[in-house]
């Protein structure tokens, strides 16, 4: 069964078999439109900033520091932050360190499944510039080529205090309406997708994971 040739308004889903193409949506994602009245948008941002749900997805060694964050000593829940086991229920994706190509595929899939509003914190030097894995055959060197990053935390590895600081900063940025990573992703969707497909060679999922 042949699909109609792709137009700008739909996705090709070329990685799927003809049979599977019928099972997945080929609609393009749409950017988020802020409320026309600024006061309402500000109020919504305030609410978003105080209800952050972290996706429990650890990618590299930095994510070791995610665990103590939830325990009594650092207790991130006092900032209204809690972990969720599934992308569908989360709003913050913390990229915990180096990202191998195999993980990148899962990250893209998880990130796209997250419902907005959604934010990415990149933890450690590995996602920023490759860190000490800059010459590895299997880890990417610049995470923001593949997904939009709202906040970087430096260090190798950053302490939980740094992560708490990042969360507070993210909250400030959200309240100021500066965290538009999700929209950036959709506006530059084709560029991001091309970069992702440049490194993920066995692309066998839909072009956008609804």
């Amino acid at each position: 069964m042949k699909k109609t040739p792709s137009t700008l308004s739909t996705l090709e889903n070329a990685g799927l078999s003809a049979e599977d193409q019928l099972l997945f949506s080929n609609a393009r994602p749409r950017p988020y439109e802020p409320y026309p009245i600024k006061a309402i948008e500000d109020f919504a941002n305030w609410a978003r900033a105080n209800s952050l749900w972290i996706l429990a997805f650890g990618t590299g060694c930095c994510s070791i520091e995610l665990r103590p964050l939830m325990t009594a000593r650092f207790d991130a829940s006092r900032f209204g932050v809690a972990g969720r086991p599934t992308p569908r229920q989360s709003s913050v994706f913390i990229i915990g360190g180096y990202v191998s190509v195999k993980t990148l595929k899962r990250i893209v899939r998880s990130y796209e499944q997250m419902q907005g509003p959604k934010f990415i914190i990149a933890l450690g030097s590995c996602p920023a510039n490759g860190g000490m894995y800059f010459d590895s055959y299997n880890t990417i060197n610049q995470f923001d080529l593949y997904l939009p990053v709202d906040l970087y935390v430096t260090g190798c590895m950053p302490r939980p205090e740094a992560l708490l600081g990042a969360i507070l900063e993210l909250q400030d940025d959200i309240k100021a309406g500066k965290c538009d990573g999700a929209n950036r992703y959709i506006e530059h969707f084709d560029e991001y997708k091309a970069n992702q497909k440049k490194v993920i060679k066995d692309w066998n999922m839909p072009d956008y994971n609804w």
């Binding site: 490759g130 800059f134 590895s136 066995d202």
Partner: protein
């Protein structure tokens, strides 16, 4: 008991290069042809019932891969490393998945990382860590990982690498241009 066993292995299988690494590791070398037979014998008759791991080293100068099968005997608490050299080009070795099922996974990994073929090993060609890999197997020493990384993943502008020793000298002795003396 161990020396008796080793004597017998020398006689029956022509093992060489026996090295004792106290307290509990002994390594020996055997030809590729006798390899599977020797490992089977050790498992079935000599109590080396556990396969710790299969590893590989690339001796590119000698044109060989050295496979290391580490076996463990629960009764005598002995570890026995069986070294088998195979040729680097068209590398191939007898599969031992019939002896230990977990050998599948090791052999899959060796196929992916070194390009060693194990005829008959189940799911050998399936991707393990590297999905959609399209270059030379990356653990071969002639694979240039820095070049591959630069071409495939690029480098961020402005990234610098500091040698810790030199960097700290400048930090500690700034007035002397990092000169200690």
């Amino acid at each position: 008991m161990m020396s008796e066993l080793l004597d017998r292995l020398v006689r029956d299988f022509g093992v060489t290069d026996i090295t004792e690494r106290p307290p509990a590791i002994t390594t020996l070398k055997v030809s590729k042809e006798n390899g599977e037979r020797l490992i089977r014998e050790l498992r079935d008759r000599e109590g080396f019932t556990h396969l710790n791991f299969i590893a590989c080293t690339d001796w590119i100068e000698d044109g060989i891969f050295r496979l290391i099968y580490m076996l463990h005997n629960y009764d005598s608490k002995q570890n026995l490393g069986v070294h088998i050299d195979i040729k680097r080009d068209h590398a191939e070795m007898t599969s031992i998945h019939t002896l230990w099922a977990q050998a599948w996974t090791y052999q899959r990994e060796l196929r992916e990382m070194y390009g060693i073929h194990f005829p008959g090993s189940p799911r050998l060609e399936e991707d393990f860590c590297l999905e959609g890999w399209d270059a030379m197997p990356p653990m071969r020493r002639d694979f240039d990982t820095a070049k591959y990384s630069a071409e495939r993943f690029g480098h961020r502008e402005g990234r610098v690498s500091l040698v810790p020793r030199d960097h700290m000298k400048v930090q500690l002795y700034p007035n002397r241009g990092g000169d200690e003396s």
